[in-house]
């Protein structure tokens, strides 16, 4: 009995030693070497593709942001700012676009709450952008998987041009041209979907001169 117990212990001790060896190789050495190479060769990507404005970073071009009116009484107001291109709805955190709580709504395909939310959004976006409700594209009405989607469809970007131009007293043609410059096609022509990065678009919009 005592002999078999000793054997069992010795067995597990060897297993533990093997686990520690693999921890050193795949858990310490591997990520450190990858980090070293990544930081040396691709520092911009490895550090989050940050967008800088003069001094510090104002965004990561990969992570979506809220573009709402300034908060009142310390609370985010939640109403969209007409001066900016608006991103998709977000389920990351109560206010949306919180990278500390990435995630989706997880509402089912026939969930009554989701159906109502989609209909309400259609009405609200159509009124905000002054377009017919039927022309609002699906990405403007649905929350993304990550809640941090930085992209919208080209259709949704073009839909917002007149509203943004008016709020900023800009020539709509100039804003339309800016959007056109930011439309990205499918990668290699066939991977994924066409899109406009709202972060980069809004960042460049801020630099556009008034007419």
């Amino acid at each position: 009995m005592a002999g078999s117990l000793t054997r069992l212990l010795r067995h597990h001790l060897a297993a533990l030693r093997m686990l520690l060896v693999f921890t050193v190789i795949t858990g310490i050495a591997y990520p450190l070497v990858v980090t070293g190479i990544a930081q040396a060769v691709f520092p911009h990507q490895a550090n989050g593709s940050l967008v800088k404005d003069g001094g510090g970073p104002v965004a990561s071009s990969l992570i979506g942001q809220r573009f709402n009116l300034p908060s009142q009484k310390g609370q985010p107001s939640g109403s969209p700012d007409p001066k900016w291109f608006q991103p998709r709805p977000s389920a990351a955190g109560p206010a949306g676009y919180d990278p500390k709580s990435s995630g989706a709504s997880n509402l089912g395909p026939n969930n009554a709450g989701l159906v109502k939310a989609v209909r309400d959004r259609r009405t609200a976006v159509a009124a905000f952008d002054r377009v017919p409700p039927s022309s609002v594209p699906p990405d403007a009405l649905t929350a993304s998987g990550s809640g941090l989607d930085p992209d919208i469809s080209p259709a949704y970007a073009y839909e917002q041009v007149n509203r943004v131009a008016k709020a900023r007293s800009l020539d709509p043609a100039a804003v339309r041209k800016l959007v056109a410059e930011h439309v990205q096609g499918r990668t290699l022509g066939f991977l994924g979907q066409g899109r406009v990065n709202v972060i980069v678009l809004n960042h460049d919009l801020a630099a556009l001169k008034r007419r």
Binding site: A14, S144, G192
Partner: protein, 554 residues
Amino acid sequence: MNETLAGWLQILALVGALALSFRPLGDYLAHVLTCPRHWRVERLVYRVGGVRGDADQPWPAYLRGLLAFSAVSVLFLYAFQRLQNHLLLSVGTKPVAPDLAFNTAASFVTNTNWQSYSGESAMGHLVQMAGLAVQNFVSAAVGIAVVAALIRGFTRKKTDRVGNFWVDLTRIVLRVLLPISFVMAIVLVAGGTIQNFHGIQSITTIAGDHQSITGGPVASQEAIKELGTNGGGFYNANSTHPFENPNPFTNWLEIYLLLVIGFSLPRTFGRMVGDNRQGYAIVAVMGLVWAASVAIVTANELHSVSSSAGHAAGGMMEGKEQRFGIWASALFAVSTTLTSCGAVNSFHDSYTPGGGGMTIFNMMLGEIAPGGTGSGLYGILILAIVTVFVAGLMVGRTPEYLGKKLGAREMKFASLYILTTPGLVLVGAGLAMALPGERAAMLNSGQHGFSEVLYAFTSAANNNGSAFAGLSANTAWYNTALGLVMILGRFLPMVFVLALSGSLARQQPVPVTAGTLPTHRPQFVGLLTGVLLIVVGLTYFPALALGPLAEGLR
């Protein structure tokens, strides 16, 4: 280029890349698992680890090594999470609660990577890279080791030796998983996946708001997460998160990585048994099931079938990312549920009843098309054994597969293997539905809520790890129940596979006669596919009828 053509090209490019990898990777794996020479660094690993790498083991010893290694891994990972606040790079995280730490430890050791926590707030960088990611490597290697032992059962005769667990484990990690992950991690970083040790960085946004940008060694973990069909995301949002999966190319690459070992292993099998055609038959079944599933899910999502939310929005974009769209999301969803990966680039809970139901059915198939690293191949080989047995009954002959007789003992192990997972899924989901507190954890109500629970137990028992994530599964009951289901769903089948391997290895092969069922012809491909669908369909039909089928037919 229109959407349909682009979608088809995306799929064809993937199939082409997998076809190109099939021979070289399959042959290389066969070489790794059979070559008699050790590398010097491997000898060093055996010496430091205190194990013997020079002699093959009988199946009970092989199994003992595997179970000891896994048991120690669960304990180590549990302690690691409980003590993480005392460690380096904890980035302000607290110790993980006991039930959640058990669930997570079980989850990563069993190659499931079910996540009841959200990575960005619950786990420090050190736990992620030196705890969780280590299991991504070794649990994947354990799966391949078990199938290697099973194949040796077919190729060897009159012996009780099925291989050496420590040698298989070490070689698969050092010669296969580590080099591929290393190269792919760098490619992912080039594409925009982050790789740093920053904590949370507060920034003032473009509109003057505040935002916290997260950091972490993501790319190194992402590469092995897909390659080893683990699927545990660095972040809660998994591969939908732009820091894990920044663009359509990285997305395509991640799908390729999570399929490539599973689809190449049949070549390894054919090589090792000395008849490549046997491998082609197996990969044909895998490919058929995969292609059919891609077609079904894509069609359901494109046409918003039976989804009132999809009709209201004009498209099934809830839970999907703009940069991927429907085609790339459906392709990922099918691939991740037909392997044991469980990473997601879109959230399945919001899929159409047909699309989401299909992801559940994919897992119920036992994840064999192509399945998890190793586990997919041993799963389909068990079904091949059942198929040969059924065919043998039809003509009244003793069934044999690859020259080995399938007698009562072999069929017992195969049957036990097949019964384990459905038993766990149906009992687990049934219990959860019987308990009012556990029922309340559903986010959606009615049939869709039941699908969330069914998905959770199917995912755990099959070691997938993806979720209909609306279910609030971070409770003591779900953490404990799902943790146990994951452990039983992983190791019981392995016990049966290794026992089967030992029993096959002892036999003297029987010569092929005119009455032997050929197992490399289209006829066998058809038979195996049929047996697979009938066995799984009959087992799960009532449960599926209560969930996705009822919802889809409303």
